[in-house]
Symmetry: C2
């Protein structure tokens, strides 16, 4: 299936992009491989593309010629031009060829292809470039392993699913800009060689040759620059911009990633939520033809209590319920001593087998989740209950636990106990696992929400200090500001995260715009006056010269692409991604540099590899 068809079949309205007429000023070809139909019969055309495959039927040879726009069938007839036909038979896969001939109606039409009604009776043929046999098949499902495909990324990028992702990304970027342009935002570029301010994640740093011993940092985000743009009166700013974090890479992290970065002046939280919710609705409308309803909002505290996470997947219910008080005091020591007992209700799962329950127990006991065990209660037919703790609890006791999600006959309660924070997190994972098992996580269903009223600070036991949950420029909720000095844990942030299907797509806040408030926050975070001045002196100075109230957001563009493309992996939506060791396997970067390069930078390697 070609891209156009793929888009059509998936009802993706960005087909409008792909079907634009191809400009006719083309020297090596007259048409693409995706546009000729029965209306073009009789035309003399020249196509260029890659050989997808050849079929030799004795008297005739068919070649499928592929380009970004589609596939067109070339016909070579042994009776008409045996020499040409013989040449076509020498084509290997991925040869690049140019073919000239007449558009004719196919006898054996293929209704699944735009070009399926026609073929080209080839009269002239040129091999523009031969190809070795590719190391894996260039098909929807390739036979190449991950590493091989990453090493030959330039071939992998030819496969339809990858091409579709890259085109989707292009379309999303254009629609992001359309939205912000219509709303009077200015796209303004911010610098990449900036000052290192090691707070939060680790910076990539860049040695300066002209300033020996000094370094730039690559931006983790343009946060400070966009705030300065607000101070400068630009009012509404956006940018689709690369950002960098030198973190230990997990499955779906990249050392460089792309952010949709936005900021607005003279706004309250209502304005920013309205504007940025509008962006997401615009993307769904234009790219997926889906009208999203207004996004519900949920407090951070509620998200943690009901879903055990600050990015709940609301495609399904299965809320966590705290049943600590209900459970305790029946003489089962482990539970009586637990700080927290909570559970979820898996609708219609009362018939789960021993094996299924064992699997779930194994799941929650995995070290990443770390629960001690799993308690189940089956609400079986005939108003009976059956549980793994029948010894300690009467049927009436257990039925009372059924308040969890109003469990009914046929349902299954899954219960965990232990330290509150850890248990809630484990319940969150268990809830998602049940969502997967029960097919409640439809990739074509989208459940957006805002999480609001995050805490502003969190206490770190190890370093014995308060950290900013988002970043130190986030404004406190005005009514909580008086707690900053005395009871920082109570201060809620004027911040918000956009979550869809359990993925945090964006996070932002109303910012501090007063020097006095910014100083209070820096003090609370343990910055000395000197430190604050050295790192952020220019920002605090800027606040003294007419800083307006402002706020904004940053979206993870790679994640948005993955969500729209129905994938869990951002890597599939990046043309040249890095692997988990932060290496580009195709070019083999990073690599050693020359001694001269290091000398010019006044650097020495302390532990050469």
């Amino acid at each position: 299936m070609n891209i156009l068809q793929y888009l059509n079949v998936h009802n993706l309205s960005f087909a409008k992009f792909v079907v634009l007429p191809f400009p006719k000023k083309i020297m090596l070809r007259t048409h693409t491989c995706g546009e000729l139909t029965i209306r073009d019969t009789g035309k003399n055309v020249t196509l260029c593309g890659w050989v997808q495959g050849t079929r030799d039927l004795g008297g005739m040879t068919f070649v499928d010629l592929r380009d970004r726009y589609g596939i067109t069938q070339l016909l070579f007839n042994m009776d008409v031009n045996p020499a040409l036909c013989e040449r076509a038979r020498t084509f290997g896969r991925e040869f690049v060829v140019s073919a000239t001939g007449k558009v004719t109606v196919r006898s054996n039409k293929n209704p699944k292809m735009v070009t399926g009604d026609i073929e080209i009776e080839v009269e002239e043929l040129e091999i523009l470039n031969a190809s070795k046999t590719p190391p894996f098949t260039v098909e929807e499902q390739s036979d190449g392993g991950d590493d091989l495909r990453m090493k030959f990324r330039f071939i992998d990028l030819r496969r339809t699913p990858v091409q579709k992702n890259i085109i989707l990304r292009h379309c999303l970027a254009q629609e992001v800009r359309n939205y912000f342009n219509k709303n009077n935002f200015l796209e303004i570029e911010t610098p990449f060689l900036i000052k290192s301010t090691p707070e939060g994640a680790r910076d990539f740093i860049v040695p300066s040759r002209m300033n020996p011993g000094q370094f730039y940092a690559l931006p983790q985000s343009p946060q400070i620059f966009k705030q300065l743009l607000m101070v400068s009166g630009y009012d509404r700013y956006y940018q689709i911009v690369r950002c960098f974090r030198d973190e230990d890479l997990r499955a779906d992290r990249q050392p460089e990633f792309t952010q949709i970065d936005c900021e607005m002046s003279f706004v309250t939280r209502e304005d920013t939520l309205f504007m940025f919710e509008g962006m997401m609705k615009h993307l769904f409308r234009t790219i997926k033809n889906i009208e999203l309803p207004d996004f519900p909002r949920i407090n951070y505290d509620e998200a943690m209590a009901y879903y055990g996470t600050d990015k709940p997947d609301l495609r399904f219910g299965m809320k966590i319920e705290d049943i600590t008080e209900l459970v305790k005091g029946k003489g089962f020591k482990i539970l009586d001593e637990a700080e927290f007992i909570g559970g979820i209700c898996a609708t219609g799962c009362s018939e789960y087998s021993r094996k299924q329950l064992d699997e779930l127990t194994e799941y929650v006991k995995r070290p990443q989740i770390g629960a001690g065990g799993l308690i189940y209660v089956k609400f079986t037919p005939g108003d009976t209950v059956k549980s793994s703790v029948d010894k300690f609890y009467s049927a009436d006791d257990l039925k009372r636990w059924g308040k969890i999600d109003n469990a009914k006959e046929g349902d299954l309660l899954l219960i965990l106990a232990g330290k509150k924070v850890k248990t809630l997190k484990a319940l969150s994972e268990l809830r998602l696992e049940m969502g997967r098992r029960l097919n409640l996580m439809d990739r074509e269903k989208f459940s957006p929400l805002w999480v609001i009223n995050f805490p502003l600070f969190e206490w770190d036991e190890e370093t014995q200090r308060w950290y900013a949950v988002h970043h130190p420029f986030t404004a406190p909720n005005p009514e909580d500001a008086h707690f900053i000095e005395g009871d920082p844990g109570r201060v809620r942030a004027n911040a918000y995260d956009m979550v869809i299907n359990g993925i945090e797509l964006g996070g932002g806040s109303i910012r501090i715009h007063s020097r006095n408030m910014q100083e209070r926050i820096f003090r609370r975070l343990g910055f000395s006056e000197t430190e604050a001045q050295e790192k952020f002196g220019f920002l605090m100075k800027a606040f003294e010269f007419g800083a307006p109230p402002h706020g904004g957001i940053a979206f993870g563009f790679d994640r948005i692409c993955a969500l729209f493309g129905g994938s869990d992996s951002i890597r599939d939506f990046i043309a040249f991604p890095k692997n988990n060791a932060a290496r580009d396997m195709m070019t083999d970067a990073p690599a050693q540099v020359t001694h001269d390069q290091l000398k010019e930078l006044s650097l020495e390697i302390t532990h050469p590899c």
Copy 2:
């Protein structure tokens, strides 16, 4: 004058951007400072903005309130609300205030402003943020010096001329994308952390913590990745992308700059010239309302011979003429021994004074130009000639030199002699100086051209080897390919530069797409097989797996902005530029990093600063 007016006065059609209706979902304000007119009389409105200035007329106080969209006059009446009026009188420049009141018709209208017919009778007033007195005036012409304004860039960015530049840049970026999107190009992001290939300019490098002793480089351009995208079948690619070069900075260089990067497959030079000329025409049409004619093309050799440069300014003629043979042999030793003698004709300048001619002589003798002296010939009224070399040349001799640009009565010939390359370069500078003096370089006149048929290689005396004039991926003109090994200086490149008004805005070429040809070029450039393999092995491998013919261009986006904005300095079009020492004076980057940061990167500084 506010921005909107500025745009209108300058007949800039990107006003269409600025006048879009402002979305009404705004909490802190109901309108901007640039939109209220007599049609809004009687409305209750809230505006937010910066105090541009206050005028106290005893009974009344006027405040000019400014935002990105314009200026609106606020009126405070001592008779109506003396307390409010007193408060308004305390406003300093750049205070951020919110004012609510009724739109009324002004008695003293200002037809130069969109909002000049109305004022706001203020009823409520809030100071959103006070401001210290800014260190320079926020006016069209500021009283602040360069360094001060760079240090307080967040204030300088408020000035109308700077704001106009940043808005122009935004508009240009959108129109670039509109053009390429319409032409089926895909915007594809390429990596920033890539492999260092020290060839051409110096790379910025980035130490890898996860791969100790190894480094990424920041891209000087996405050249190789865009070629790989063509190998991958993406057919048409573009990107507005940051690039990095660690060069010693001249007046108008920045260590990071922005490129419009493009590439197309299955094209010849005609296709790429057509497509990219089309982009520039589109920008002039949409942004400046100017229809450019088809771009003339000039061979590199002719550009050098007639203008002494490969980026001639064609807004005026004044071609250089080689008069070596005409001049020699009259016994004036210096000229008789010169390798080259050439001149230009300054129309209507025969009356130039001694002082003016001395100035020109000083000009060409400056070390950057380095001419030994300047010879002049005046074609004075009455068919007489007067020159600085009358002793050696008869009037008839001198009249024969008048073949330069067909000099007529009233004209002035300016002649330089010496080594050919150096003298042509000096004549080129002299020509531009005369263009400036004669006002032939109108900023609102645009003379585009293509320079084609560059040499592919140039010989470097110092290192005794051939270098690629553009880069090693440029294809030779097919008819010259057989000179690569034997006579590389004769090989012309299938390359092209776009030049407007003497500024090289873009350069590109048809690329090599065959492994064999790429290997020949690498060999010619003196790369060993191992070197070529190590640096560009993946590219040569890619050429073995179906690389199509392809070509492209990269435009200097900062330069395009400067040209459209009528400025010589790209720095004026960058929100946060660096100075000539590659420093950001506002944030004071680069800076020292912590010992821990270096240790994690296995690095040591050899000469701490």
